[in-house]
Symmetry: C2
């Protein structure tokens, strides 16, 4: 078990509070109290509240971008790529669940270049997903109707996963992957 630096400890505490109450409802004094120190002392380790947010969000966003770029390059079927994207989301959910909450709920409170960078990454990610779907349709692997609805449905499910994952108390990751792939690819109605 690696020991966390004081700065990392602060980020962990902040991410927990951000997840529970949202960025704007958490004060520096709240974070300090949770760590057993005074608010001013936080500034020995971090440059400000904004750094906490951008550190959390951008770390996770880069993880998504990196993972998606890896999947796109693979030489496999579209179905397999979508499967890998689903698994990517689940892995990130398990490993970065606190940061994911900030990314989903508080990204609009990023400032300047951080905000621009995040929006760009998000758009690119979505566009890559869209291309994968399109290729799958052309190859006949995926239904040709309403591709935008599919894209939106899958992404919505994956993005909300972090809420459920902890409420249900740490499900088995590999089983969850299998189930999610099954439901998202084949729906809920049994084949005739």
């Amino acid at each position: 078990m690696e020991t966390l630096s004081r700065k990392q400890e602060i980020i962990v505490v902040a991410s927990r509070l951000f997840k529970e109450r949202g960025y704007n409802a958490v004060s520096m004094r709240d974070i300090a109290q949770e760590m057993g120190i005074k608010a001013a002392s936080l500034y020995n380790h971090i440059s400000g509240k904004q750094e906490l947010l951008s550190t959390l969000i951008l770390e996770v966003a880069r993880e998504f971008t990196f993972g998606m770029n890896r999947v796109v390059k693979e030489e496999v079927s579209s179905i397999e790529k979508i499967t890998q994207v689903i698994e990517l989301h689940i892995d990130i959910t398990v490993n970065f669940s606190e940061g994911l909450a900030a990314l989903n709920n508080d990204w609009m409170h990023l400032e300047a270049t951080d905000l621009e960078g995040f929006v760009k990454m998000r758009e690119d990610y979505e566009e890559n997903f869209r291309i994968i779907l399109k290729q799958g349709i052309e190859a006949g692997e995926i239904q040709s109707h309403h591709p935008e609805v599919m894209l939106f449905s899958i992404l919505s499910t994956l993005r909300t996963l972090y809420v459920w994952y902890q409420k249900r108390g740490k499900l088995d990751v590999n089983l969850l992957k299998k189930d999610m792939v099954a439901v998202l690819l084949h729906g809920i109605v049994p084949p005739k």
Copy 2:
């Protein structure tokens, strides 16, 4: 076209700002400025900021509860019930998209009895959905594996719909209903 009371006008303005920035990032002065008056003047019409939030959220929450209770009572197949729930969500998304944003993002900033009431309604709603799925499984209309994943996937998609609905610029509602039902029930892979 019915004319809005001053109070209703305030609620409309507030809901728009809440959706864009979140409850805590919007001040009473922001709302007042958007209406062309001073913050103190708002208090001639409303009791406080909290009233704006609870009015918005509870109105939508009651709409969900009412709609779900109606669907549950119907004497139709489970598949048909799920279809109706999907349509219910889409109707509410179209008619209450601003309040829906507050409900999704800022419900935790409700206070006391409003918060309790909301959580209760949400749990009941989810439980009703779970029961519908269960009945469908018992009747053989729905796949028997991973019912919790199905529930979570469908609900996630429906709850996030309001974000997409306006980004895509007012799609045709009936077409959207058809497409959503198709994707959520049958997935994205064509039948063999």
